[in-house]
């Protein structure tokens, strides 16, 4: 089948401003990933087309893009999901460097703000620290995050101000705050309670819809908000 794919193009070394270019892929099948189409366009029609990709099955988080207006991973979006007229654009709220490649640094900077690492200052036991299956389940959902930025760059509050930590950072804070083995929950809640923290979330649910890992992002944010409000984890 023939698929028409309209792609946002911008090469800072040549272009004064961005534009869209339309390509046709005539040997597509409905199980092709959007990433496969991009590869074909790059391989046979325009080698200058630039985008990030690696694992190609939705785990590495490299190829977050706006596909027909929705934040998705190009490798986890099939032609049969989006039809034969496809528009591909960079995710919003981060500076476009070239074509579909955006500057991820502000995103990772926000991630680092919440101290996304395990903290337990007790002496290490000889074997594992015990944890019940119920306690482990408490933060299971937020361990799935692959830092693709689909959630954060779908959030109007983040578009308004990229200092807002954003849903991905809160998800990663949640992963530690609700881990029974971790001891720094209160410190993380303090960071999230600051001016560019969790209160900028207005429960719009874009993040939850955008997450390719189907993390219940808004629910996780709600649990963190409740912990801040009640002081209880």
């Amino acid at each position: 089948m023939e698929v028409t794919i309209k792609i946002f193009r911008y090469n800072p070394e040549k272009d004064k401003k961005p534009s869209h270019k339309t390509y046709k892929v005539d040997d597509a099948v409905e199980t092709d990933r959007v990433l496969d189409l991009l590869e074909k366009v790059k391989g046979y029609q325009d080698g200058t087309l630039s985008f990030r990709r690696s694992c190609a099955h939705g785990i590495c988080g490299s190829d977050a893009m706006r596909i027909n207006g929705m934040n998705r991973l190009a490798c986890k979006t099939l032609v049969r999901d989006v039809g034969t007229k496809i528009t591909v654009e960079p995710i919003l709220g981060l500076r476009v460097i070239k074509d579909l490649i955006v500057d991820m640094e502000p995103f990772f900077e926000n991630y680092r703000e919440v101290m996304p690492w395990f903290i337990n200052n007790d002496p290490e036991p000889e074997q594992e620290r015990p944890q019940s299956p119920e306690d482990r389940e408490r933060f299971d959902d937020t361990t799935k995050c692959i830092l693709c930025a689909c959630c954060t760059t779908s959030c109007p509050s983040f578009w308004a101000n990229d200092k807002y930590l954003g849903p991905a950072a809160i998800v990663n804070a949640h992963r530690f705050i609700f881990d029974s083995r971790d001891q720094a929950g209160a410190e993380r809640l303090k960071v999230l309670n600051e001016i560019f923290g969790i209160h900028r979330c207005h429960t719009i649910f874009n993040c939850t819809l955008a997450c390719p890992r189907e993390i219940q992002v808004t629910k996780a944010i709600g649990e963190v908000k409740a912990a801040i409000a009640t002081g209880k984890i």
Binding site: N11, P12, E13, K14, T31, K40, K42, G43, Y44, D46, G47, T48, S50, F51, R52, R53, S54, C55, A56, H57, G58, I59, C60, G61, S62, K76, L78, I97, K98, D99, I101, F108, M115, P116, W117, F118, I119, N120, E124, E126, Q127, E128, R129, P130, Q131, S132, P133, R136, F139, D140, T143, K144, I146, L147, R175, F176, D179, R181, D182, E214
Partner: protein
């Protein structure tokens, strides 16, 4: 051009690179350079588990793990290194847990373990629960946890810097040359010690579980400096990739009771591995699938099989096998439990196949998965210059890029994650120790010369050939003739085609002549790496006239310990000629014997 100085440079930020960076940075000024953001690394796609004889659920011992790994390697693994890895495994898992890794738990709060292929109770021969897991995203959790710990400990990263060359001075490592992708600028990293942790090269094959990033940059770079590559003919085909796409379906599916079914509805592994059946090692199962398909017993006569994890199927065969829970009750699962144990597998099948594994069987075929071969090292990650174990001062390798060799001719599932944690750590420790007692060598007068030469050749080629076509043709011939079963005639054909493609590659150019994120230039350079490694793989395989582990020859169907119980060392000279030498296998406790599952 910018120049930086670090005592230790780590190239690659997957599990091995992060572990090396974490340990080296404790005592030495260290930087980790990666062409990807660290969390994009391929370690994150590992699914089912990491092996260690914790014995949390049933009796197990590091000695059993050692024997299983030796047997799995078809006796080509070096037994001193294997014993070292399996002994270190237990502590390594506790260390990961102490770093916060969210393993699944047993009812009494310990790390949960599941059965995996080739891991057995050495008394009964039956599968043992040895794979420590976090659902079916164990690799993701390892990668995330190690990256988090690196951030916590202020490890220095150069993200999206692609290393193109290794600097060697007087036979010792002196640094690397990298391109900053965002600017196209070249950076020289002057170092006392360099650790390669760049992963595998499975993109040589058509059907593969490997990421685009797995273009074999590390071994291609070291090979061009006259350093050897060990056992390149041994490449693992994982039995269960998603049909046509190659995306991995973890062995954990079978560990949790899933079975392989042929077109006649038979559980065919009973005929190939009567004791452990669907939990035989990967080479054995991939061959069985291929043979079934050849006999016309594929699904609908086609070249795929079913992997069936529907609760009714699991429960039926668990009853046949007499499988029990730890408390002695019969093993019975529900759809909900399957979903909880294997959420990503269920998701992959729904997204890519439109198949729901809870109610439908999954169509699978073997997929190129793991390089047993690579840059030769000893058990401390120190790179070796020749078949006599001469060390390369200042050079280290760990993870899939390295060949210790702990996997020999066939790796057991769960041992790759273990490998990168254990050997990443020791490579980091050894490199830092080396750096403490070493001075910086003076850099070559023009350190980026060879890098520029490689790029200039691509930028100025006549452009009469297309890189995409060359890649497709390489992958096809390698899958057809250098896959699960091989023959002299087929391999010779693969070699001829690859060499013709190498010639055509000289005419490939790029339309993107810019500096900023010139991914076209990087991808073409990576294709050159894959072609060179495809050639070394095929030459090494053609010479080995026996069948062992992942190298199965129709014209030499038996293992031949008399002639071939030895490691291949392939050297490429300046004119591109490949010379093969051999090194004996270290055998300590387990004499080679026939391998049955």
């Amino acid at each position: 051009m910018k120049t930086h100085q670090f005592e230790v440079i780590v190239v690659g930020a997957g599990g091995a690179g992060l572990m090396a960076g974490l340990y080296a940075s404790r005592t030495a000024k260290t930087a980790v350079i990666s062409k990807l953001y660290p969390t994009r690394s391929h370690t994150g796609t590992a699914q089912g588990g990491i092996g260690a004889a914790l014995g949390n659920i049933e009796e197990d011992h590091p000695e059993w793990h050692t024997y299983d790994t030796v047997k799995g390697s078809d006796y080509l693994g070096d037994q001193d290194a294997i014993e070292f890895m399996c002994e270190e495994a237990v502590q390594a898992i506790y260390e990961l847990e102490h770093m916060g890794l969210p393993f699944d738990r047993t009812p009494d709060g310990k790390i949960s373990q599941r059965p995996f292929g080739g891991h057995t109770n050495n008394i009964t021969g039956k599968p043992v629960r040895r794979a420590c897991h976090a659902a079916d995203r164990t690799g993701h959790m390892i990668l995330q946890t190690l990256y988090q710990q690196c951030l916590k400990n202020n490890v220095t990263f150069y993200d999206e810097f692609q290393v193109i060359d290794l600097l060697m001075v007087n036979g010792a490592a002196a640094g690397v040359v990298a391109v900053e992708l965002a600017t196209g600028e070249m950076h020289v990293f002057h170092a006392k010690a360099v650790i390669f942790a760049t992963g595998g090269h499975g993109r040589i094959w058509e059907i593969t579980s490997n990421a685009y990033a797995f273009s074999g940059d590390g071994p291609a770079i070291t090979m061009r400096h006259g350093l050897p590559l060990e056992d390149m003919e041994f490449f693992q085909f994982h039995p269960t990739g998603i049909y046509k796409l190659g995306i991995l379906i973890t062995e954990g599916v079978r560990g949790d009771g899933g079975v392989l079914i042929n077109g006649k509805g038979e559980r065919f592994m009973e005929n190939y591995a009567p004791t452990v059946k669907d939990l035989a090692s990967r080479d054995v199962i991939s061959r069985a699938i291929y043979l079934e398909i050849r006999e016309g017993r594929g699904i609908n006569g086609k070249n795929y099989m079913y992997l069936d994890v529907r609760p009714e199927t699991v429960n039926k065969y668990a009853a046949v096998d007499g499988r029990k829970n730890p408390d002695g009750s019969p093993y019975v699962v529900t759809g909900q439990q399957i979903l909880a144990k294997l959420p990503d597998i269920v998701d992959f099948c729904r997204v890519y196949l439109g198949v729901d594994p809870i109610t439908q069987p999954m169509p699978i075929q073997p997929t190129a998965h793991y390089a047993m071969g690579g840059i030769p090292t000893n058990k401390y990650g120190e790179a070796i210059a020749d078949e006599k174990d001469t060390l390369v001062p200042g050079l280290y390798a760990a993870g899939e890029v390295a060949c210790v060799s702990v996997h020999g001719a066939n790796r057991l599932g769960t041992n790759s994650l273990l490998d990168l944690v254990v050997f990443g750590k020791y490579a980091g420790l050894r490199a830092a120790e080396f750096a403490r007692g070493a001075e910086y060598q003076s850099l070559p007068a023009d350190p980026t010369e060879f890098t520029r030469e490689q790029f200039d050749r691509i930028l100025s080629a006549d452009g009469t050939q297309n890189a995409f076509d060359i890649g497709v043709e390489m992958k096809k011939v390698m899958f057809d003739d250098m896959g699960i079963f091989r023959s002299g005639k087929g391999m010779q054909n693969a070699l001829n085609v690859v060499r013709e493609l190498q010639e055509r590659f000289k005419h490939v150019t790029v339309t993107d002549k810019g500096k900023i994120f010139n991914m076209e230039l990087m991808n073409v350079w990576e294709l050159g790496n894959l072609l060179d490694l495809a050639e070394v793989t095929t030459v090494s395989a053609l010479a080995r006239e026996e069948s062992r582990g992942g190298h199965s020859r129709e014209d030499f169907p038996e293992r031949d310990d008399q002639k071939w119980l030895k490691h291949t060392f392939a050297f490429v000279d300046e004119k591109g000629k490949i010379d093969l030498k051999y090194k004996s296998v270290t055998i300590t406790r387990f004499e080679p014997k026939a391998r049955k599952y």
